[in-house]
Amino acid sequence: MSMRAIKSTTESPEMVDRFDRVLSDAIEALEESGIKYAFIGGIASGGLGRPRTTRDIDVFVRPEDAESCLRALTKHGFRTEHTDPNWLYKGFKENIMVDVIFKSKGDIYLDSEMYQRMITAEFHGKQVRLVAPEDLIIIKVIAHGEVTPGHWHDALALLLHANIDWEYLIRRARRAPRRVLSLLIYAQSNDVWVPKHAIDRLYRIVFGDSPPKSSVSEAFVVKKPQLRVISRGKHNETLVAKLRECFAEDPRVHELDIQIEIFDNKLILRGEVLTVDRREAITEVAKEVFPAYEIENQIRVSSLREPSEVEEIR
């Protein structure tokens, strides 16, 4: 994950304060809930591309986490609504809106590759998780339309300002190759540097090298039966369940609240425990169970205070 500073994205000082406060509450809610998420929309565009005004906070989550996300916001004092069960929920606080998006236009979901590519940036002293610029470009070019031309220009600004991994962009462009190809050509026409190989490769993806070899309609082609294998996702779910069981049952640990994420050969552990020893014990157990994995232990050790106030019960 790379780091960069984000320019201010709002207007009046009062608005900036309010926006920051609400963003901070939203981050706290999201971090505490342990769900996978990344900011998109104005915060990400402002952070990765051009500084621009934003009045709302767009959070991208997986569909299965949308409900938990809304509940986490409710818990942190947001008024929430199930705006559209197909793709969007909303939360409101101090007149600032949080869009909880779980399917972006063109059937884009927060998938595991997008999540791994996510970057962390600093926003007014806070760490925020943003989708990678390549993913934001794809989201933007697909979302662009007659009433939302801003998305097109956000995408152009990303090409201009962000450090683009062209390999990754081309791979991810398969969702909307014509759109992305148009954007790259349009960008060149605006004197934004785009490598020729990127345009060539996208062109071949769209139009191919030569005319189609066969005129047989696909409907008549009998497909070879494919071996059924457990999908990587399901396999990982089983690994997570196995490790969760070990954390609960191993006498060194007995922790039931550790969040576990698996990427290729890396295990990320998140959550909170009471002592440093227990944090270390968790790494130890994880290493024993999955010796082949690299363990990244992001677990925090909680710190306590005396309560500053007394609640009156009447």
Binding site: K75, D257, T275, E306, E311
Partner: protein, 255 residues
């Protein structure tokens, strides 16, 4: 008016010595009573309970404790009760105790409780013996709770549970876990018998404040939730009524 300090899920292990000692000592003068809502230990070992008992020695207000599921893990729950009692902690299960505060009698009822779930997603005594045993334990705990609260006599009635009696203090937990975090039967038992306040723990990702359907305040004081060494609650008025006090002789249909 009485001031009650409450915390749950302190999950002591052998490495926790002094973790809460100075916070407990600072309680003298700030609260009249300390209640602990179970999961006092990490693994249910007596050695772990001894470390906690040591940390509680410097405290001069009465301490009432119940145990949680972690404290049952090694089948040493009786020994844990004994370790705590030897340190002057009123460690109870399926019982109540009365402490005197400013000339008022404060009855503290303690029952572990159990899972089973809430309206729309409950476990019932049907099917395999294991399922029936699970549902029956939940029911028995609720019956025991009701009996204990009804029998308890005091100007104030405080209920200690480990599991939650309501859904509202679980907000933040995954819904799939609710049946393992509490049971609506517990809230019904308390509403029927009447109490001033209910404290519980067990749910680390839940929310502090809730109420029973009958209007009795519920506080989830799991340390992970309150994020303090304990929280302090001041009970202003005594004698919160239950269904039977509100509609005497009507044999309320839920009771």
């Amino acid at each position: 008016m009485i001031r009650v300090a409450a915390v749950g899920d302190v999950h002591y292990d052998r490495g926790c010595r002094n973790r809460l000692k100075y916070f407990f000592e600072a309680l003298n003068g700030r609260a009249d009573l300390l209640v602990l809502t179970g999961d006092l230990t990490k693994s249910g070992l007596t050695e772990e309970a001894e470390v906690l008992a040591d940390d509680l020695r410097g405290i001069s207000v009465p301490v009432v404790a119940i145990l949680g599921n972690h404290d049952y893990h090694q089948d040493q729950q009786q020994q844990i009760h004994e370790v705590l009692r030897a340190a002057n902690i009123l460690s109870i299960e399926g019982d109540s105790t009365v402490v005197e505060v400013h000339g008022k009698r404060v009855a503290v009822v303690g029952v572990k409780g159990f899972g089973g779930g809430f309206g729309g997603g409950c476990c019932t005594e049907f099917g395999e013996p294991e399922t029936k045993a699970f549902a029956r334990h939940a029911k028995n705990q609720a019956d025991l709770l009701r009996e204990c609260v009804q029998k308890a006599e005091g100007d104030y009635k405080i209920v200690l549970l480990h599991y939650s009696p309501v859904e509202s203090t679980l907000l933040g937990e995954r819904r799939e876990l609710y049946p393992f975090l509490g049971s609506y039967l517990l809230a019904n038992a308390i509403d029927c018998a009447g109490a001033d306040i209910v404290f519980h723990g067990h749910s680390h990702f839940g929310t502090e404040r809730g109420t029973t359907p009958g209007g009795i305040p519920v506080r989830n004081v799991a340390q992970m939730v309150i994020r303090h060494a304990y929280n302090i609650y001041s009970l202003v008025e005594a004698g919160h009524p239950g269904y039977e006090d509100l509609r005497p002789g009507q044999n309320h249909s839920l009771c």
